[in-house]
């Protein structure tokens, strides 16, 4: 089960993120979806529920034995609801981060995918009585003795699933160095690698992702209880009543218990807690401040923009230097050098940056090389872009007429002197536009490194937007910061280009 989140899947996810952000923006506008009362569902013969199969076990996930089929306790729950209403259940795949906006757009009738009942969520959607009570579980390496209760996490490096309840619990606690991951298997791997002191996970997630690792253990009792509820659009009160009725009777009939027992998620105390649930139990998180604290958001975005700039500039310096060496080796080197350089360019250019980042960060520890996320990010971006820069240089150098090299050699210069004083200065001018173009591309590509836990500008936007559902305002703010940084860069490139111009005609 621990292999349910393979790299391939994660990569796909990232590529979908752009599309998701876009659709989330659209969702910020008032939705005009039709009300979906139970009668309508019955008439249709099918209800559609939104979930993200990438969220993984044990919620909704592809059956390892038959990946075409989705399984999970929520799939069973949906089947139970469908049986109750005499209709079919149809799961609609949607990125978890975007479930609520998609519900607003009418992509499905309701959400049932580990969505916590919190005041924040209740501001966006109406939520049913809980169908599951979850808690937080601390996971550490087996030999770790100093972490036993939640307070012990203070001052430690703790991994969480990005934008999850675990992250919010730690943020509220304060004093913890939080490392946010895009998936659930990565923090387990980093615990094993020793990059993390501990990881905090929803109990069911811990059961499926951390338990199988012999090197890891559950520490202390579950804490910070919370409730999963079904979410419907605010105006669909009629549907909500039907869902509550159905859940009540599934609980009374023992069907809920049966489902959770099947998945190993049942705790005896859960039955009573669910039965006695009242609205006031909704996890009282911090009550939202009056109006969004824009100044604070801007400050957080700007802070993460510094990371983005650091990442881009340092990795571009690496790319430009390494790229030049590669181009020179290919054009002027001895045969083995030439061959190596060509192979480097083809391999690096022909494989996705994401895979390279994964190998650098999660793969190398297997052979004993543990890079920090920052170093791995810089190496990944720099080495990847070096392949492209090498080709830029090569094109630039080859554009210089042969006569230049011949003239230099006829004056007694060595090949390397000629390259340095005659060829490169001219090639530089040719390659500045494509290189500055690549720099701007790298600047934006740097957001990919969030998969190896770097919180840069796009990641910070994602985290803030997920927490506040303010996709529009924050999105514009983030875009403005990106533009504000990249536009001066392209102005500087143009200036440099002019400075290097020697064609004064």
């Amino acid at each position: 089960m621990k292999d349910l989140s393979p790299r391939v899947k994660k990569n796909l996810k990232k590529y979908f993120t752009a599309a998701l952000l876009f659709s989330s923006l659209a969702a910020a506008f008032p939705a005009l979806a039709p009300a979906a009362a139970l009668e309508e569902i019955k008439a249709r013969g099918v209800f559609r529920w939104g979930a993200d199969a990438e969220g993984g076990a044990p919620y909704v996930f592809p059956d390892p034995r038959d990946p075409d089929k989705l399984i999970g306790f929520e799939v069973d729950l949906a089947a139970a609801l469908a049986a109750k209403w005499g209709v079919r259940a149809e799961m609609v795949q949607n990125n978890w981060d975007g479930l609520i906006p998609a519900l607003g757009r009418g992509s499905f009738d309701f959400i049932m995918n580990g969505l916590e009942i919190t005041p924040e969520h209740l501001k966006q959607v109406s939520m049913s009585r809980p169908y599951y009570i979850y808690s937080q579980q601390i996971v550490t390496a087996k030999e770790r003795k100093d972490i036993n209760v939640p307070e012990d996490l203070k001052g430690k490096k703790v991994g969480v699933l990005s934008a999850s309840m675990s992250q919010r619990v730690l943020e509220k606690m304060g004093g913890v160095t939080i490392v946010a991951y895009a998936g659930n298997s990565e923090p387990c791997r980093d615990l094993k690698n020793g990059r993390l002191d501990a990881s905090l996970m929803d109990y069911p997630i811990a059961l499926y992702y951390a338990k199988p690792y012999a090197e890891l253990k559950f520490t202390g009792k579950p804490f910070a209880f919370g409730y999963y509820g079904v979410a419907v659009p605010k105006k669909d009160e009629a549907l909500l009543r039907e869902i509550n009725k159905a859940l009540d009777s599934l609980l009374a009939e023992g069907k809920l218990k049966a489902i959770y027992k099947k998945w190993g998620m049942w705790e005896e105390s859960m039955g009573a807690k669910m039965k006695n649930y009242g609205k006031e139990d909704a996890v009282a998180e911090e009550s939202a401040a009056a109006g969004p604290p824009w100044g604070k958001y801007l400050w957080m975005l700007l802070k993460s923009a510094v990371i983005t700039v650091e990442l881009s500039v340092i990795s571009m310096v690496l790319a430009v230097g390494l790229g030049l060496a590669l181009a020179l080796a290919r054009l002027y080197g001895a045969a083995p050098l030439r061959w190596l350089s060509t192979a480097y360019v083809e391999v690096v250019r022909g494989t996705p940056l994401l895979i390279q980042l994964y190998i650098l960060y999660y793969g190398l520890p297997n052979i004993g090389i543990k890079l920090s996320a920052f170093i791995a990010a810089i190496l990944g971006l720099g080495m990847n872009y070096a392949a492209y820069e090498a080709e830029n240089y090569r094109a630039g150098i080859q554009a210089i007429p042969r006569g230049q090299m011949e003239a230099a050699m006829s004056l007694g210069m060595t090949r390397m002197q000629a390259v340095r004083h005659v060829i490169l200065p001219q090639a530089m001018r040719i390659v500045i536009p494509p290189i500055s173009n690549d720099f701007i591309a790298l600047f934006k590509d740097s957001s990919l490194v969030s998969v190896i836990t770097m919180v840069e500008l796009t990641k910070m936007y994602g985290m803030l937007a997920n927490a506040t559902y303010n996709y529009m305002g924050l999105g514009l703010m983030t875009a403005a910061i990106y533009f504000g940084l990249s536009y001066p860069a392209s102005l500087a490139a143009r200036h440099l280009e002019k400075k290097l111009a020697y064609d004064h005609r």
Binding site: P401, G403, Q404, E406, A407, A408, M409, S410, L411, G412, M413, T414, Q417, H421, V422, P425, Q426, R429, L500, Y502, D503, H504, R505
Partner: protein, 272 residues
Amino acid sequence: MIIVKNLVKSYKSHKVLDGISMGQARGEKVVLIGPSGCGKTTLLRCLNQLEVFDSGKISVAGVTLDAAADHSSKAWKASRHELRLRVGMVFQSFNLFPHMTALENITLAPIKVKGMHAGDARKLGMDFLEKVGLGEKAKFHPSQLSGGQQQRVAIARALAMKPEVMLFDEPTSALDPEVKEDVLGVMRKLAYEGMTMLVITHEISFARDIADRIIFMDAGKVVEAGPAKELCAHPKEPRTIEFLSKLLPRSPKRQAAVKVPDNQLSLEDLWD
């Protein structure tokens, strides 16, 4: 000063140089003529090792290179370097470095190759720029100069390395007629000063004026060689006759140029 022995150079199956032998004394001016593709440019480039030859032997300004020697050996590379230091080359397309000023074009090699101090190199560069009549253009980039001016800078650049032999590969064929004379004037001056020169040109009147000898090449071989005036006036080989007859009548202006007195030239007369 130049000895070429049985030089052979092929591109794939095509023999560009087919056993060329020739010689040139110190201070002698030789003009190479021949139809395009006859191998004259290749011969010139071999003398500067911009081309590697397949067999035969050259000896230029005391440096001997034999095709049979190991081209990757240190000794061979050292000889090649020495050869290039003693031989100056002027290209048809000037090949000035466009990112540098006229002066920088001239001082680059003395500084980088000979380790000359920048100040000394600048003085030397200015001397040569003035010698070719372009002292006031020192700070101009090649793109700001006319073709004739560019070629004169290129000549100054080669001269600044103090070569013992100057090779000219069709130095005026890329130039407009009105600026050709500027370049030819500089070359005349150089010839007058006693420089050893091997020149490829179609300017037959110029050849007649300055050349001690003319060598006519065709199909990779020397067809005919002899004192300039005699070869022009009384070519013996049918191919030489045919070639010269095509070259001469086509350009009446060139005929006029012949009238320039060929002895007792004062330097001042040569400008413009």
